[in-house]
Amino acid sequence: MKTILLLSLGLISSGFASISSYTIENIAFPDDMPPEIGGVAFDKDGNLYACLRRGDVVVTKPGKDPKSTKWKVFATGLHNPMGMVVVAPGHILVSQMAELTEIIDTNQDGVADRYNNLSTDFGISGNYHETNAICRDGDGGYYIALGTASHNGPTFHTPRGDYSKEGRRGRNFSSNHLRGWVVHYDKNGKLTPFASGFRMHNGITRSPDGEVWCGDNQGDWRGGSPIYNVRPGSFNGHPSSLVWDPDLKNLGTPIFLPRKMLDDLHNQPSVQLTRKTMSSCGEPFIIETENFGPFNGQMLVPDENGRRINRIMMEKVDGAWQGASTLFLNTKELRAGGVRIAMDAKGKSIYYASTARGWQRPDEGLQRITHNGKTPFHVKDFKATTRGFKFWFTKPVQDPDKLAEKISVRSFCYEYGYRYGSSEKDKKEHKILNLTGTGPFEIELEGLEAGRIFEIDFSSKLLSSNGESMNDPQVQYTLNRLKRPETKFATELKQSKDGIDVYIAGKFFAKYNFDKLSQPIIWPIQGPGNIRMLRDYPFKKDTSGEAKDHPHHRGIFIGHQVMSGAGFWHYQFKNSGTVEHLKVIESRSGQDRALIKTLNAWKDSEGKTIGADTRTMTFGGDEIARYLDLEINMHATNQDIVFEEFKDGFVGIRTHPDLRLTPSPKHGVKQVFGKARNSEGVEGKSIWGKRADWVHYYGTIEGKEAGIAFFSHPTNITKKAEKSWWHARDYGLISANPFAPTKLGGDGKHTIKKGQSLKLRYRFVFHSGPAKDAKIGQRFNEFAKDAGHPTSIMPPHPGYPEDYLSEQKK
């Protein structure tokens, strides 16, 4: 009866038409049983288990009539269980608040009699917010999502598991061991940390391709409600849990770390769901059948607070998952509090579980959503292209040639920071420059940029060929990365224990060394035509024709002569500090450019941490050149970082001796073949100590024409918007120095205040052939126009603690 009513209402009101392909039925529970479902799953015999948050696990075999559903109690005594997996009939796993529990009916009488503690190797503080969810790992083990605590509740005098004072600070916090992490419980029972940075990942799912997915709730450090692709070792945005990451242990309280550093560490959410369509994500569910509509392989996400389910179309772009979201079901017939979805064996129905006790007015229970075979008219798939988007509808549309008039596109950014949610920042409208296709369609957009959320609205006048309109005709695409163009110069990275080798078009280009050195060094570098670009010394001590001066001039190296009392230009002095590689945050290759992003700690001569950096290096090439971009962000994590004014610093390179301007016979350099110039027309030795956009050393290397250009991006810090100051010598050393002595015409001393960061961007161009063919000026203009890596930090950022809005008010 209710189904017929719903269907007829569907024809009348478009608000209900979203269910015209899907019917919703309420599964009955006894009146006195609180159906506060934390997890729902089928066994292979078609029995549906539901774990209820007060403690019971109940079972039923769903029949045609939802009102006559009979539940039996299978197990009991569970503390707020929000995760359940069925291993076999009568054998389940439940993640309750304090424990991962295995529950077995050993004597097969229908009631569980054995409760095994699989793991309690994680902390629990006593706070109401710390619930846990689980999913399989595909290899006999599980992933467990451990929620953080909330400042709206207390912690105990006697919690379990290591307690961290620094982790306890903030709004949502991780006071006890591994809260806010996803941990891995392997098939042998060992629990290890897997990924950090979650707040309330209420649900975790593994898709058939082996990827792990979590949503997270709206909250502090979240712009909207994000969906994360959980990569091993990744940090997923919420800093409190970083207290349990040993790599960061010397860098200070995580919630007060420089925000740009956290932004660089952040494994950006694959999809940001906005308040328009999602309040807080429940557990993602992957559709693995053709029987539930035309969305096989896509993801459904229930809303813990709203009466709606989102549908996600995920794709992999430039090494990471991102994608489009749209509303799948949006109707008052759905309960709010949607947390879990389980599909039956036939694949025509999903069971949608709701509970909201504790975070809003209760809306508890189980509903069955069945596909009635009628294909809904909507966007079927939505992908990024190099110039815009490509999309398919589930049915042919009327007037496909007039489609461009029925689409409008806008975009905005979410700001990343400690605040609870973000408003839309930097809103832009995007003109559709071109629309091609009759299904699929491709649109080319003006102003396409990475790091933004695009919102594509389809007009209500857009109809399918049989006259249907779309419900909730809007798609949002989280464009973290642009699709890379085709290339003949594909890149490849090969990581070994001590570094990463970069190959372009199959030929070796550069090596990033991060082991056993006082700082990470890039050496060696081979230009196009396999021309050696750098001095071999001190790495190779027997290459002829090289002067063995300045052993600290090593390949491409980074450091200033004196920073907060420690020396980083040299490594061999008493006050010399070290730069310790902490982790590779991300590396990717295969496209037109390769990328390596790392986190490093800067320590003084006594090993005390004085700061950190995140650096992103990109590598690419064409017929005559290879380029190496460096974006380095210095972070004042523990204290102010003071760059004293010295000529020796900050990013340096020691070239092949053939590119020197002057020989040094007594040091073994008999003949040299280099000339130098800068962007301002100065030539030769005189470029030293002068300001310029770039410097260029060119000539022949081992008989072949070649050169090295070094660009400083116009946004790099200098006094009064001048160009960079160059410590560009005649014997092979070139460095760009933002902190050179003022009496030499430099920018002088600089301080990064604690909690702040400093960004510097440089590009090296290694070319073969004559200088004029390298078109250095043109290459510089391209570099200057390059917006760089997208960031979720809205500049400017004052110090600790930050208050962006109050700055704007001034």
């Binding site: 006195d32 424990e99 919690p159 600070r169 709004r171 809003q360 920071g417 609870y420």
Partner: protein
């Protein structure tokens, strides 16, 4: 919804007749209605669930600490500390501190009706306390049926009944002459349920594997504990200020009866005195205890509900109703009947209605007016 009223408390003389072996139960309360759980075998909306001898109720929940010694009884727990209060809006910390509260995070509570309730802890692998005539009032955790909010800042159920045993001193078990506190941190393995549905707990310590079953003793306010060691080790039990009777002791097995070592009555009822005069202070206390704090910030920060900061006297726009200036009548309505108007930008139906004393509404209004 069936509501079972608890029978009157049984006096000790009758209790002596009642507690024999299971199956020979002579009961003065034979004809009294059984508590919901004992009847149905599932938890209901009853905030004071109770089991029975035939159907023990196993509940895992946070448990009250009951003043147990943290050093002697809870040594395998870690230590929670105070922490600076934090403003989510400004990202700054205040000088005020959050203080920890008492509670046991990972214990198992079992009730067999009025004859026995006990709490056994999985982190310490020992019995913490036992009581009669009640179990837990789960209101702090489960809230009430309509509003769904936990009632109170903490989440720890209230014990009601008569506590007759408390863990005193270090872990009372020794294995082959070595105390568990000297062997090392015990590791909880799980429990089995026999045909009597009573948990038998298992834990490991060093190279030993021990199981323990807890039942009512031969008379009221006594306990029977049966220990078993897999490797047939010699087991002994000792607790300060506690009378123990060893019933049997063989290779690898120990059965004892524990006599009361405590006598404390707990009531779960909060003394609810009617408020005479509404004040801002009372309003501020209610703001926390009723759970408003979970959705309405004081500092302008965003959350599920509008911030209270500068709300009084401000212009407010709604999804369906026409806009108005926030006054006392509106505040009263939005507490008593939040569905009447939903503020633009928020979801309808998230806030439950609150039925309070008149003076409580007035106190909340005074408090909200003061939030600037």
């Amino acid at each position: 919804m069936k509501i079972f009223l608890f029978p009157k408390l049984i006096c000790a003389a009758l209790a002596l007749l009642v507690y024999g072996k299971k199956g020979s139960l002579l009961s003065a309360n034979e004809h009294a209605p059984k508590p919901a759980y004992a009847q149905n075998g599932y938890l209901t909306f009853d905030l004071k669930p109770m089991g029975s001898i035939e159907r023990p109720l196993v509940l895992r929940t946070f448990a009250p600490t009951l003043g147990l010694s943290k050093d002697l009884v809870l040594p395998n727990h870690s230590k929670g500390l105070s922490s600076p209060k934090y403003s989510p809006s400004s990202g700054k910390e205040a000088t005020k501190q959050y203080r920890p509260i008492d509670g046991i995070p990972a214990a198992i509570a079992v009730n067999l009706g009025k004859p026995l309730s006990y709490v056994w802890d999985t982190t310490e692998c020992r019995l913490l306390y036992a009581w009669t005539d009640g179990f837990f009032d789960m209101k702090n955790y489960w809230g009430d049926r309509n509003s769904g909010r936990r009632k109170g800042f903490g989440y720890v159920p209230r014990l009601h009944g008569f506590v007759f045993y408390k863990a005193l001193g270090k872990h009372p078990l020794s294995i082959n002459g070595k105390w568990i506190s000297d062997i090392g941190s015990p590791k909880y393995s799980g429990y089995s349920l026999g045909s009597d549905r009573l948990p038998v707990y298992e834990f490991e310590t060093g190279s030993s594997k021990v199981s323990i079953k807890i039942q009512p003793g031969p008379s009221t306010q006594t306990l029977r504990l049966d220990f078993s060691s897999e490797n047939k080790e010699v087991l002994e039990f000792s607790s300060p200020s506690t009378q123990i009777e060893v019933k049997s002791k063989t290779a690898g097995k120990l059965s004892i009866v524990i006599r009361p070592n405590a006598g404390e009555r707990f009531s779960s009822e909060e003394k609810k005195e009617p408020i005479k005069k509404p004040t801002t202070e009372i309003g501020e206390k209610l703001y926390t205890s009723l759970g408003c704090i979970a959705c309405h910030s004081l500092d302008g920060g965003k959350n599920h509900g509008p911030t209270l900061k500068d709300s009084f006297g401000s212009k407010r726009e709604f999804l369906k109703a026409s806009s108005l200036v926030v006054d006392e009548a509106y505040i009263r309505e939005s507490i008593e009947n939040p569905m009447a108007k939903t503020v633009k930008g928020y979801l309808t139906g998230m806030m439950p209605p609150y039925k309070l004393q008149e003076a409580e509404y007035d106190s909340l209004i005074l408090f909200i007016k003061s939030v600037r």
